[in-house]
Symmetry: C2
């Protein structure tokens, strides 16, 4: 399976995206041992771009490189996920308050687009698409609040949370509930009500990991 050449940046970058997607989708399960050589052959490139992609992933704490030993996909840690939620709450609640003060009109339009797309994905039960438009919602919030850098941080935290959420097999009903929470958040922004907006955001982020302890009991081998 050769990776496409001549599009979307360097091979190392594309490979990093591919691996990240696979890790979040749990196709590369937590604890799995990776080998630069093996990945290189699998994707039809040399070891060097693989190595660079793994370095980037290790900075995001999705893999751990042990010198002269090997590279493994990091296991899911409830402890770290709770901390990630805490930090997301701190950042995104601040961002949403800022959004209540001023929000870019063009971003506001994109929010509606993403909500529509979320509803369609939820109805179809398409997890991959839902995740994509969920991400679009949060990144657009950050941009509209004139805080694009927030997404560079929240994106990483969200990716870890999304990976864990893959274990909870969320059906359409759960996804529709998430969309409703998104609607609640943006409604509070429209009403310029920072208290309500922050409360809605904190509630949203709290709900997401609610099913995590159950998932840990079902798949203990994937947790640290």
């Amino acid at each position: 399976m050769n990776i496409e050449r001549g599009q979307g940046g360097s091979a190392a970058h594309r490979l990093g995206q591919e691996l990240l997607k696979a890790i979040i989708a749990l196709e590369l399960p937590p604890g799995m041992r990776l080998s630069e050589q093996e990945i290189a052959e699998r994707y039809g490139v040399s070891r060097q771009p693989v190595r660079e992609a793994l370095i980037a992933l290790s900075r995001q704490r999705f893999v751990e490189v042990v010198p002269q030993r090997g590279t493994i996909v990091v296991k899911i840690s409830v402890r770290e996920l709770m901390e990630a939620r805490f930090l997301r709450e701190a950042i995104e609640s601040a961002v949403i308050r800022r959004a209540c003060e001023s929000f870019s009109p063009t971003s506001r339009g994109r929010i509606d687009d993403s909500l529509d797309a979320q509803r369609r994905a939820a109805a179809k039960g398409d997890h991959s698409a839902f995740r994509r438009f969920d991400e679009l919602f949060h990144v657009t919030l950050a941009e509209g609040a004139d805080c694009p850098m927030a997404w560079t941080i929240v994106g990483d935290l969200k990716a870890h949370m999304d990976r864990a959420c893959q274990l909870t097999l969320q059906g359409p009903s759960v996804m529709q509930a998430l969309v409703a929470q998104h609607e609640q958040i943006i409604a509070a922004v429209d009403a310029r009500d920072p208290e309500a907006a922050e409360a809605a955001m904190r509630n949203h982020l709290t709900e997401i990991l609610r099913a995590l302890p159950e998932a840990e009991q079902r798949h203990p081998e994937l947790f640290a």
Copy 2:
């Protein structure tokens, strides 16, 4: 100037630390054009570890690597620094509130140690040492509040702010003022007063960049 071999991890990692230090100290000024080849010769290693170090630095947005063109030290952006301050405020104010609920006793001891060291560095006017112990103060706060991940984020943001602060030539009096702010923060934590602690933290972070506009006027070529 060969880089030391056989200590502190891989050559790429050590080189990354060296380059980061040089960038923050403005020895590699914003806008400077870097070359893998040149750095490799300068530090007596091959181009590969240099490349890997630059990739890590580009993820921290300290350098920007333009494909097939070159690599440059990113210029200072007031816009981004203000955003970094906003995000640090969001994170560290949440952390300090958490610290008021529970704080590790052993971390509390290390806080005092770092404060002592800060006072000594401030008295001597040693910027490099002060920065090191200032960093120790904030990382210990995060650890003590059971939020070590917060530092992995705040550390990056702080590094950017520290680079800009190199332009403001802070004398001993400024450093002593910063120490006083630190003391105020930890005093509020000791008193278990989250409101006061958050207020002290926000004040601290606001003060840091106060002299930035003046610095921009003095060194416009270093800014984006």
